[in-house]
């Protein structure tokens, strides 16, 4: 293997890595927004909102991501909508992973104790305030581990954008293969880089889980209990 090969490969893979990270970050942002919009939509009091959210989630979870990618990239131009490859890629991946994450949001919020909701109602909190100040914050710790998995999936699925001509790492590896035919080395490096990236995401996710763990709340829990005892004249 000539030094030529190594400079060429390093150069292309470095450029590809930046694109992979960009697609993953933008995809994650879109997936998060989608997850909360569709997930809260599923919990709405209005029937039509619930049905639209359900239909959206089922369609994006029920069809293959490759099909969605093809639809945004190849089929939309038929309606005169021509998306840049990168945009089509981020849109497909973000909406797809977002629809999985929407179910995480829905089930995490849906599994809060009824008492929390009832307490809010008796304090005369509106639905929006209830969500924003009580139900969503309480649900975050339950959402974090599955969100971490979704982000790792998103990173891995970002390799599919190479199929619609986005120059991510996988795309650049193919170019190296066509130029030099050194398939083994290039694809082995590619696998290792993806593995390292997914381990980094897993680490970050675990750190966030510790940061938002419910144990932290438990430390401050005794205080209200004392107040409760005072308020009831210490009868308990």
């Amino acid at each position: 293997m000539s030094p030529d090969f190594w400079t060429f490969t390093a150069h292309l893979l470095w450029r590809g890595l930046q694109v992979t990270i960009l697609v993953t970050v933008l995809g994650t942002v879109l997936a998060l927004v989608t997850a909360f919009v569709a997930g809260l939509g599923r919990l709405s009091d209005h029937g039509p909102v619930r049905w639209i959210a359900l239909a959206f989630i089922e369609v994006f979870r029920g069809t293959s991501l490759v099909a969605q990618l093809f639809f945004f990239f190849y089929a939309l131009p038929a309606f005169g909508v021509r998306l840049a490859p990168m945009f089509a890629g981020v849109l497909a991946i973000g909406l797809n992973e977002g629809s999985y994450a929407a179910e995480i949001v829905r089930s995490a919020i849906g599994s809060r104790g009824v008492g929390q909701n009832e307490a809010c109602v008796s304090l005369h909190m509106g639905k929006a305030l209830r969500m924003r100040r009580v139900l969503i914050p309480q649900s975050i710790p339950a959402m974090l581990p599955p969100f971490g998995n979704v982000t790792v999936d998103l990173l891995k699925n970002s390799s599919l954008v190479s199929l619609v001509t986005v120059g991510d790492m996988t795309f650049q590896a193919q170019i190296v293969r066509n130029q030099f035919g050194n398939t083994t080395v290039v694809f082995a490096i590619l696998l290792v880089i993806y593995f390292i990236l997914s381990q980094l995401i897993a680490l970050l996710s675990r750190w966030l889980e510790r940061r938002f763990a419910l144990d932290r709340d438990r430390r401050s829990a005794p205080e209200p209990r004392i107040r409760y005892a005072e308020a009831t004249g210490g009868s308990r």
Binding site: V152, F187, A202
Partner: protein, 218 residues
């Protein structure tokens, strides 16, 4: 250029043929995943010095890398070492290996759910280890694992679309072929999406039924 129903109708037989291949890949790939995953889970649980660690790494590595890159690796690299399979067979093996890392985790969770007392009772009766696995632990572990494995089957059905990239003529492979022949993607992509949706919705319902059934008979 918008939707052309005549053109769309004319594509249906070809796309159904593609769907058939997709289903075949899914069934064969799942068989590999079920067997390899079980083997991996048992070896990991058995705490055999180096081997259990290696299998743990295998699970993490396979789960940490994209299916597409794994498929390219098998398709482009293995022939350099004299190993050549048809694209179909390569695809089945790659997706089977890929999902074995996930099924191994499902089995592991199932095995961990089996109370320690079951193991201790088997030891007290001096049951040989293989028989403890086959007659005591696995039957209990599988009951909790089956619905989760069913969900992975549905997931694999959708993921198999990736294999068109190594020229497997499954559903998306046909979409791509039609698209590059006719420059019309809207109809084939839409029909393919509808086919994926129908099959996966029906399959998810079946998995849910199975889950309820297994849960009730507890």
């Amino acid at each position: 250029m918008t939707w052309d129903s005549g053109f769309a109708l004319s594509l249906i037989p070809q796309l159904l043929a593609g769907l058939r291949i997709t289903v075949e890949i899914t069934v064969l790939g799942m068989l590999i995943a079920l067997v390899v995953g079980l083997f991996v889970a048992v070896v990991r649980r058995s705490r055999i010095p180096v081997l259990s660690w290696l299998f743990g790494f295998y699970v993490q590595f396979v789960r940490g890398t994209p299916l597409l890159v794994q498929a390219y690796f098998a398709y482009f690299v293995l022939p350099d070492y004299g190993i050549t399979f048809s694209p179909f067979l390569t695809g089945v093996i790659v997706i089977g290996i890929n999902y074995s890392a996930y099924t191994a985790e499902v089995y592991r969770a199932g095995v961990e759910d089996v109370p320690a007392g079951q193991w201790e009772a088997a030891t007290a009766l001096s049951l040989p280890v293989p028989r403890t696995w086959v007659r005591i632990v696995l039957p209990q572990a599988l009951r909790t694992s089956v619905p989760v494995l069913g969900n992975y089957l549905v997931q694999m059905f959708k993921d198999s679309a990736v294999l068109f990239a190594i020229s497997v003529y499954e559903l998306m492979g046909h979409v791509e072929a039609i698209g590059s022949d006719t420059y019309r993607y809207l109809e084939p992509v839409t029909i393919a999406a509808v086919l994926y949706l129908i099959v996966s919705l029906v399959a998810s319902q079946l998995v849910r039924l199975l889950e309820n059934r297994l849960a009730l008979s507890r």
